[in-house]
């Protein structure tokens, strides 16, 4: 298997955003793969080259490419099958087939299935590059037309996996029944008027899920505002309401994270918010709330973490977010997407990939902290590999480092708390006067105040 390569050059072919066009090359023959890669890199494209069609589907699903070049005869999947698969994911991306020999019937079939060009070996490099350039230009024009013409847009969407669900969904790849069922249930509740509850384990990616939900309402002036225990109070709510008003919003959806951890006052606010009562009355648009909690509503009610009002309100529409370990078919795809993001974040020239052992590990690991855990693990692994291959050993090392980091940060918090307590005691001892306590620690008054106010 060949690693993904990305070389940056001075003059790249640029799209309308000023970014170089990207090409995914798939050929199990490493020598020919290298040749194709060199050809396209010399022609100033950014190239990702892969030898495994299964991996190529994963990478293609979560990365945007302007063109795909594929071989036909490959062990795990033919080029025709690969093309049909990726056309089902992003039908707008042009595909070029390169092969040693193809029957006329097969070429006709490929054309029917939407291939942009078929090139037989030995290659005419100039024809190949000319055709790929034309295909990319055509795709760019079609993309632009799709933005203004709904018919073109619809034609693009017909075969995509989103078409299978009937809506766009990105927080899970929906390759497993648990995530597909979740996506469909969430979509069925999209028109909730007052309250929706998302129940997920620790580390659930509520924000991405809510972004999917927000994507269900392309035609409305819908605004989403996110609040956690640290940011949820009347003044911040009012600010969000005023912003929505200034934006001419038709509706404001407030997403409240970790509701069970909020103070009684915050919970009271959370209960009256969707009814637009008290301080939230008088706004000309609808207000609704998404409550995010980590446990079953009955358990939260029994443990008195929510009162009966919130219990009924939150129980009106509840959707359980699947645990990551119940979506084993999704995990590798999600991890691959995170790898791309992490590589961009650290400015890596190459995008690392998972080897077979790492993919197996990702599918079988327990993921107690769900998406957050996966993100942390991938970030650490990407930082450790610097664009190489991520193996099971890299993932295990990443886990060890994370555990150590957690222990170290826990001690840091403990020490800071102890310091604050000590300084507070000293201030009390010096008659509630920080300026008198400061010399005791050999520090100035400002430093002492900053410690106790943290």
């Amino acid at each position: 298997m060949k690693s993904t390569r990305r070389k940056r050059k001075q003059r790249k072919k640029r799209n309308s955003y000023g970014m170089a066009y990207t090409v995914l090359i798939l050929d199990d023959d490493e020598d020919f793969n290298s040749l194709l890669t060199d050809i396209f890199e010399q022609a100033d494209y950014v190239v990702a080259s892969l030898t495994d069609p299964i991996e190529a589907v994963e990478v293609f699903t979560h990365t945007d490419y302007d063109l795909v070049v594929t071989d036909h005869k490959m062990p795990e999947m033919t080029g025709a099958e690969f093309m049909r698969t990726i056309k089902g994911i992003k039908p707008e991306v042009p595909v070029v087939m390169v092969s040693g020999y193809l029957e006329n019937d097969m070429i006709r079939e490929l054309i029917r299935d939407g291939v942009g060009g078929v090139f037989l070996k030995p290659l005419n490099i100039f024809s190949l590059l000319e055709r790929t350039s034309e295909l990319i230009e055509e795709a760019v024009k079609l993309k632009a037309a799709a933005k203004t013409n709904p018919d073109v847009s619809k034609a693009f969407e017909m075969d995509s996996p989103d078409a299978k669900l009937g809506f766009r969904f990105r927080s899970f790849p929906c390759k497993s029944s648990a995530s597909s069922d979740f996506a469909e249930r969430l979509h069925s509740f999209r028109n909730f008027k007052l309250a929706l509850t998302l129940i997920g384990g620790p580390g659930t990616h509520y924000r991405q899920i809510c972004e999917d939900l927000a994507g269900f309402y392309e035609d409305t002036a819908d605004r989403f505002a996110y609040f956690s225990r640290d940011s949820f109070d009347e003044s911040k709510l009012r600010a969000a309401l005023e912003t929505a008003k200034a934006d001419d919003a038709s509706r404001l959806t407030c997403v409240l994270l970790s509701v069970e951890d909020m103070s009684p006052e915050q919970k009271q606010l959370a209960a009256i918010l969707p009814k637009a009562e008290g301080p939230f009355s008088g706004y000309a648009y609808d207000i609704r709330v998404i409550y995010c909690v980590s446990g079953d509503l009955d358990d939260l009610y029994d443990e008195e973490l929510i009162d009966e009002h919130l219990y009924i309100l939150m129980g009106t529409a509840e959707v359980r977010v699947p645990r990551l370990k119940d979506c084993s078919s999704d995990i590798v795809l999600m991890a691959q997407q995170l790898v791309v993001q992490a590589a961009q974040k650290v400015g890596s020239q190459n995008t690392p990939r998972f080897d077979k052992s790492a993919r197996e590990f990702l599918r079988n690991y327990d993921w107690p902290t769900n998406y957050a855990g996966l993100t942390e693990r991938v970030d650490s692994a990407v930082a450790a590999t610097q664009g190489g291959v991520i193996s099971i050993d890299v993932l295990r090392t990443a886990e060890k480092e994370l555990v150590e980091e957690t222990i170290s940060s826990r001690y840091e918090v403990l020490l800071k708390d102890a310091r604050k307590e000590l300084v507070n005691s000293a201030i009390i001892m010096f008659g509630d006067d920080a300026s008198k306590a400061a010399p005791f620690f050999g520090a100035d008054t400002a430093s002492i105040n900053s410690i106790i106010n943290k």
Binding site: K275, Y301, Y311, I312, T316
Partner: protein, 172 residues
């Protein structure tokens, strides 16, 4: 009635979700019914705290015939009219009283060879079914009836209990 407050909340919450899941009401209908339900809970009117009555009589968004048909076809419940049943006192049943019956719109109306025949408006609500099956040691055959039939049955049961109490007083 206060001792059944949690069961009332739980029973109605699950019933509401089930009605939405089975497509018998819409989610906004449930939101409106829950609003009324919470108002009556807060007014301590527990006897009349039910999302069913709101959905049927206030909001008029639930087709009771459809609900009964759904329950008979999918939950395997029998359909009866309590007006044609001779009701008996609940005194012999441990852990069962009239308030529990009102709280869950449920009534055990007969017992055949150790098996209780129970009619309820809440057979779609898992906590209510579980509660009753626990109280009656699991030997239950479930029936459904209209809300008005069960309410009338519960009123008759109250009359039976009142007569029983008066008779006891007279004996003393």
């Amino acid at each position: 009635m206060q001792q059944h407050r949690a069961l009332i909340l739980r029973g109605n919450r699950f019933l509401g979700s089930a009605l939405v899941d089975k497509g018998l009401i819409s989610q906004p209908d449930l939101e409106a019914a829950n609003d009324k339900f919470m108002s009556s809970i807060q007014e301590a009117d527990l006897k009349n705290s039910s999302i069913l009555t709101s959905l049927l009589y206030d909001l008029k968004v639930l087709d009771e015939d459809k609900l009964l048909a759904y329950t008979v076809e999918n939950k395997g419940c029998g359909l009866i009219d309590l007006n044609h049943i001779d009701l008996k006192s609940l005194t012999p049943l441990n852990g069962v009283d009239s308030e529990l019956c009102w709280a869950t719109s449920t009534l055990p109306f007969d017992k055949v060879e150790g098996t209780h025949l129970v009619v309820s408006c809440y057979t779609l609500s898992a906590p209510v079914v579980k509660y009753w099956e626990d109280v009656l040691d699991g030997n239950v055959i479930w029936y459904v009836s209209s809300v008005s039939s069960i309410s009338r049955g519960l009123e008759r049961l109250d009359e039976i209990h009142e007569a029983e109490a008066e008779a006891e007083e007279e004996e003393e």
